[in-house]
Symmetry: C2
Subunit: 324 residues, 2 copies
């Protein structure tokens, strides 16, 4: 419940009313030695006035705080929101300060600096790529930091096993025995894990199969335009995209051209089931990834491990209508 008074009641008020020193109230709050009698008395008064300690004063005195800055590349993505839910569900005492970087390195850098000036107690960075500048700033930071999204040496991190994912997709491709494959990839400079790692196993599997690779980006419209061009000049019976979103763009191009290849994507279970045909996709468990991120963060913050921590998450291929 919330006090309806306009002025916040402080520890001093409680102490005065209870006729004790404020240090006694503080001990009461933090489990120090307090007699049964005063404990009950303070109990009553605290309940009556709905007293809650001022977190600013606490953080100021204790020189630490329980606000963790979480920088996400975007919010309108199931992957991200699942990770955030994982964080939430494991959380007890911390507060997450979520900052959207809008997939922009400049904003990401600004966010990191702002979080520092806001005296957060640590940072969890979900990111697609780290610029040198960001790397430097993170290295200089005294805060506990964990990252997700890229396999950055020297940083505590949780990563997806994109190599294994590509391998699994590669194996599955062979059961489909395609004649001509279109690969829709992204620039490795934009995202190394996605652009390179995911495609290693796929390209290995396609060694003896005709295929064409084009570099597009993460946006639906770009993927649509780029794939349209490729499909106009060539016929494909299988399209593999670096993300589900990219594949959805390609689907629209294909249908516009009255073509009906098979499709395979990577990523968010969300898209997979809203498009028709439902999309065959290699899926990662981002919810569990969020939990692992939080566990790793706590370990880094509380145990201060000497060597760099690295947690690997894996996923599995879900076959749906688009490859039937």
């Amino acid at each position: 419940m919330i006090n309806s008074m306009n002025k916040k009641v402080t520890i001093n008020d409680i102490a005065t009313i209870a006729n004790v020193a404020k240090s006694t109230v503080s001990r009461y709050l933090n489990g120090g030695s307090v007699s049964e009698h005063t404990r009950l008395k303070i109990d009553r008064i605290v309940a009556q006035y709905n007293y809650t300690p001022n977190t600013f004063a606490q953080s100021l005195k204790q020189q630490k705080n329980h606000t963790i800055g979480v920088i996400v590349p975007r919010l309108d993505s199931i992957a991200q929101s699942d990770m955030l839910r994982g964080l939430d569900d494991l959380n007890k005492d911390d507060t997450f300060l979520i900052v959207n970087a809008y997939q922009d390195a400049k904003r990401e850098l600004a966010a990191i600096e702002k979080l520092h000036s806001q005296n957060v107690g640590g940072i969890i960075l979900l990111t697609a790529n780290l610029t040198d500048e960001i790397r430097d700033v993170l290295k200089a930071s005294p805060l506990p930091i964990v990252i997700q999204g890229q396999d950055e040496p020297n940083f505590h991190r949780v990563i997806m096993d994109d190599l294994a994912a590509g391998k699994a997709v590669g194996q599955y491709i062979q059961t489909l025995a395609p004649k001509n494959v279109l690969l829709l990839n992204v620039d490795t400079k934009i995202d190394q894990a996605v652009g390179h790692d995911r495609f290693v196993g796929i390209k290995a599997a396609l060694a003896k199969t005709p295929h064409q690779e084009i570099i597009t980006d993460f946006k639906l419209d770009t993927a649509k335009a780029d794939s349209y061009q490729a499909m106009q000049t060539d016929d494909f019976d299988l399209v593999i995209g670096a993300t589900d979103r990219i594949v959805v763009g390609a689907m629209q191009s294909a249908f516009a051209l009255k073509q009906h290849p098979k499709f395979i994507g990577f990523g968010q279970s969300f898209f997979s089931e809203t498009v028709s045909p439902n999309l065959t996709s290699f899926e990662f468990n981002f919810y569990e990834t969020g939990k692992q991120l939080y566990r790793l963060f706590l370990k880094v913050r509380d145990d201060k491990p000497v060597d760099v921590q690295r947690v690997i998450m894996n996923g599995h291929l879900v076959v749906r209508e688009s490859t039937e």
Copy 2:
């Protein structure tokens, strides 16, 4: 830039190094009267040590703070993330503490109470429905509060003009001259604005047209199952859903049954363009809504208006493939 030292430098350190009183440094920081000479001196030292004031100490002393709690019903929605972007883009001095309520009234209530105990400077509540308990807590709060999503009397709010939206859709329906219409609605107890207001104009337009209304919920799977049942027993040439998500569920049922009615939805431009056929939908500008929310919040916080503020946002119908 961030200081690489492990200990934070304080205003006292700066004052000592600069050989002035800390009150002088404070005045320097806040634009009080400081001579050119000392200004330059402190400038140099602040830059050298990367000093940033401790926000906890500031908030403690100033008895106010620039953290605004934002409670959202869900994060994996374009509407929500667009609103958040609107908030972000207008923001200068504030920090948004985003809390996900996971469309659960209990968590929403808990979030409101937690934000209070964290001493936020105000609350922006995006919500689908207010329980009596939440209403009471909000009324008792001394904080500036604005809400979005429901037309709640007695609260400062930004709302969507769902009545006008339904009217516009109603007019459009008549140009389609449908024979049998399926309406997929939600319980007005779950969402009054969506469940009732959006359908007033639609039902008026269908006064002389055969139609069936079923109550489903906001989830894709539920909508899919509910619409499947209806479509099995009856043939529809137009399906109107309370949200785009609901319509996507219905699309999947229709295609599974080899039916190809026209579809109209409400809401997020996201879905509309990822599904095929692209969805005709009444769209609201959530980005602009976010901006209006923030403006309204500032007005409420800073000007403390006596009478309840109410801002109405409107949108427009976007015709796409699904009604061609």
